[in-house]
Point group: D2
Chain length 389, copies 4
């Protein structure tokens, strides 16, 4: 006992709902959390099959007594323990996000939830209300906001480095749904193209929301109107697999987004271009350590992660010197580091900036998906796309 | 005399309307023609100021007796000469294209006209009719169709290398009109942003038409419907400087175009991506010697100009071995080589494929500009964008 | 107790020597180990200042009773504990590698040692002998061998995909020592340019060895002769900061290496090109997820991490789907996963391939550095560079 | 007659030796000259087969009376004509350069000669002497010096933009001789790998000299010592097809060159990197319109052809606005424009800078090839590589 006290440091504990065998994103959350060692996995309801939960628990070193058949049971029991988890990580299919998040918030437990936040605007509003009432922390893991150079983009723009923004062009093409793989056993494809599990949209919900968030996160622009055209190229598919979205933002800027999961030749090619009166920037997820920065009348500059000429926040988000590539895991780990750091300062009653995307960002994403679907259903009519909750 | 006969080969002569002092594209046409030496400049009305015409004639080695005060005079006189020009090259501002082209066609002289063909659909129809009646050759110089790798793209697609086309994403961002340079003496900017000289559109007319042509030339897709949003970012400007266009093509494909002249950081960044069920390709004007070619389930391939693994037509359009860059001038020269070659075979009554874009392509471009403006004026309404002349 | 047994899985424990406050690579080892959770840090002698060791232990959750003033004490005590560490991670400056490794090997503890293995050929030979006698596992962490696409390169070459190798061109330019930063408080620079801590070479020892290892790892080529030219551009510096090395390999291949730490504009730009009779490949550390693969007469192919068209081993080393960047940490984690996996199979008496670079690779590196220095000292004389231990 | 006088401008005439049917570079010279129309081809001895000369003359519009069976006859006759050629263009195989150049110089005719200047140092000295005595202009067409961004590199370096130069790394890999194509009818390969026609070296003579010239042209560095290793990978080949060259320059800089014609996967990949104390630059022939420019502590900049932020000379060498690719032909045309411009000013007794590489550059190249061969023959011994003529 004495031994323990000597080495004790402020370390958090967490539980996970979802993320059992076969999950893609579940293990990413855990690995990201492990990188900084700020929080330990001690509880879980990893699957709706309890056998799978037990199997996962064993593999992950979680005591059987803190495994749970249902997330409700987990929320209840963990909230009653003196050493109950500090936060829960939700990595279930989308349709469960709302109920799980709600259960834990109501039991006073902080929440991390993969995007999208939930399936309907009403759910989003209720979660937002709950968070405001409980004053709990709620992170929605928009992974790409964890990249150092996305932070740099945000700082450049917010500091006026591009002047007034005129044009935003963003795209997120992938190829993995170019064929009806949901019919041939691809689990990810199955639930993502199923209205029951994924909600009203596939491509816009899954990757379009990343664009929406990335644009808002880096530019602060608010959408005023939008027109969307959602398409389904693969015959028999129930949800969209390609979409074009045109936008007007407050303050005279306009934009164009393209998302596709039938774009043969593309892997995960999220790209953001923001063009202002004085400069422009260009960031690509597949080369996340760089930004191309144009300034009127000057040569293009290649900003590279970790250099001293960058803004403080982006330097803080780099873990290695320039030229040492950091990727998707590190972006995720950066989000968790910010989140855990926030919880720890809270415990210590220290004020700290919130450097992660939260329930409000999640709600904005849900609204965006609904607006896109609505516009598309009305023949790509231009509709009000503003977000006021 | 005898001497001359000994060395005689079938060489063409041409005259030029426009292209005098200050012209950007006029000298490009001449240099492109000079590269292959198939045609000699022997006549001209290079400016509406006769002094400038005389000055240009002197510099270009054109005899004074074949300089003309007006294009009408030139058409008349040249058609009457036994050694009159084989063809005329029209490099005036857009608003004169129609009248000049008409004059020469009516006098039986072949025509090369810079794009856009003319300003109104009616003009386009009349020119088209004239060409059909006279059976004269009429090339519209869509420069980018002269690049070897654009020919390769065309061949790949036409040979089914991409399967059925699903998505076309094209863009043409430039930065040169990000400021109101038309107010500070930039001549190019002045006429291009003037409805009188440029017609109903600036950015769509000037560079959007290149996209329209490039897509049609390489894919053969016919537009069925389109929705356009033309914007003017620079205050006081009379025509559009940024535009988004969404499209449906015959055969279930869709597309998105973006053109901009306020895109700081971009030079002349025309890019075409065509995505099909089996493959996809990506071509960029600023690296014209390459195509990225994706085939489902295989690594991306980088096709490079002049290699033996390419299609015959693209090899024919390469003048140098692989790795020896060919650019804008060579693309232009390739068009002229095709055109002159066609005229020469005609003189020799030889059948030959027509490897250049013609009056029909020009008319299609005019129609496209009008459709975009119409849609944009109606709040980006989706309208019929089909071309039937 | 019973609880613990229920969730127990085969998990390793490790201790660390070095890696205390101010260390660059120490935390990378720990984070890499944490990603897969196969081994837990339970002991340490993190600094030669015991206060710093205690400080680090606290931060890392290591019990005070398993912190040690010296590595000798640590080796002794840990070897005596029933729950002593399975392996030690050595992240001290280079000059201590030998003594630390020796101490642990002699106590029967597996070793992971950062490169270079040690400072002299004699030390290398003794370590090699010890490893052979004790049959302990000994990993030398040549980080770049952990990248999926380096594994792919190795497989392609070993499977004959390039034909017979003719030419190897490799380079590793950095900029960080372009100024005498060792004089202005840069700790990394101080010890790396100090003969006492870094041995007989700076640039060849630090980064040249990465090239040497990468070439051998991927191609299997054995150096037969070499000529080196080590240079010191920064005045007052005691060791080399730039070097050119020409090589002959067994089997008629030749090569050229360039390493530099004064190469302004470069970050960590390790690049390997291997050219054979039938094909060639090109890999860059700063875009580690790709290989450019040429095959005679065919278009260049861009191989991308995680795709099914790749070899099995490189797919195994990818943790995320294509297009999700993996970087330096993941490369490191891959090495540790291989190492831990080997230890675990050993405990379970399972035969398993050794997928990591070991003491022999380390010894080869030490020999290479000495050969380069010898040749350079003799006016770049060509000398026997073969490795036989 | 009067007509002619009216339109007369100062136009030059030239003749060509070599460049008949099957020639690669002959037509490039002619097309480059045609682009600016400053000089007209009026005489020629295009082949050692007179029938081929006649055939070429016919195709090129050269009067039969000015075709010649031998270059000697041509030099003699043209020098006697009142309207004799202003200059001769020599595009024969290398072994004839000396005799042809000498003949024309002795007859008072200016000379343009493709590189290499000649085969031996003695020949180079004699030509140099002749040029100095006759005060004739003599251009050696090192094509790559005609690129706008090579001019920019030169200006940047000469203006001290990189500080003191430390390291030069240059390479020129090609793939076209990876197989013994000289045995299967490839004419270019046949003469280039033949000691009789190409002299003592193939790869160093053909492409190594381009590196030597490019380095000297842009940096002004003088070689003091060098060590070379020439290799022949293709069995049966009589001259080198791969080479490594290490260099010391006056003023403490060092360098490494690699040339190869067996580098599968490469087309014409000449690349120059110059690294100084304050900055570094990187230029690639296959993307000639760009330079990567590093400055210590600042983001990498991408300089792009034709922009106003560039030096005056490089702007002058750009013919089109930024983003309009210019290639190999334009580089050549730029050289000829400089040369013709010099001849014209000479006729007008105007002083003008000489913006082209001349006989001295050619002689330097010949010396370089000999030094490389000498060093290689002596087991890559370091030898004096200085150039003093």
């Amino acid at each position: 006992m004495a031994k323990e006290r000597e080495t004790e440091r402020l370390r958090l504990t967490y539980g996970q709902v979802g993320g059992g065998p076969g999950s893609l994103i579940g293990p990413v959350h855990r690995a990201a959390l492990a990188m900084d060692g700020q929080a330990e996995l001690v509880a879980g309801s990893f699957s709706w099959l309890f056998d799978e939960t037990l199997e996962a628990a064993k593999a992950l070193g979680v005591y059987t007594e803190r495994t749970y058949r249902t997330f409700q049971e987990m929320a209840e029991k963990e909230s009653e323990r003196e050493d109950g988890v500090d936060f829960v990580v939700i990595t279930t299919p989308n349709h469960l996000h709302y109920e799980v998040a709600k259960s834990f918030l109501e039991r006073g437990i902080h929440v991390v939830c993969d995007k999208p936040l939930c399936l309907t605007i009403e759910e989003a509003e209720r979660l937002l209300k709950l968070v405001r009432e409980t004053k709990l922390e709620f992170m929605v893991t928009y992974t790409y906001t964890g990249y150092p150079m996305v932070r740099e983009a945000r700082q450049i723009i917010r500091n006026g480095g591009l002047g007034d923004i005129r044009v935003v062009v963003a795209e997120y093409p992938q190829a993995w749904l170019a064929e009806p793989v949901e019919e041939t056993g691809n689990q990810q494809a199955s639930w993502r193209t199923s209205p029951k599990y994924a909600g009203i949209s596939n491509s816009v919900g899954d990757i379009g929301t990343h664009i929406e968030n990335l644009v808002h996160f880096t530019t602060g622009l608010e959408i005023s109107r939008l027109s969307a055209k959602l398409e389904t190229f693969v015959s028999g598919r129930k949800l969209d697999d390609n979409a074009y979205i045109l936008l007007e933002y407050s303050g005279n800027a306009s934009g164009s987004y393209w998302v596709s999961q039938v774009a043969v030749g593309n892997e995960n090619a999220l790209r953001l271009r923001v063009i202002g009166t004085e400069g422009a920037l260009d960031w690509r997820q597949e080369q996340p350590d760089q930004i191309l920065l144009a300034r009127k009348g000057k040569p293009m500059a290649i900003l590279s992660k970790g250099n001293e000429y960058l803004n403080e926040e982006s330097q803080l988000f780099a873990r290695l010197p320039p030229g040492h590539p950091e990727g998707y895991f590190e972006a995720f780990a950066n989000l968790y580091r910010s989140f855990c750091s926030k919880l720890i300062s809270k415990k210590q009653s220290i004020e700290e900036d919130k450097l992660f995307t939260d329930v409000l960002d999640g709600a904005r994403g849900v609204k965006f998906v609904h607006d896109c679907v609505t516009s598309s259903n009305r023949g790509s009519e231009w509709i009000d796309g503003s977000f006021k909750i």
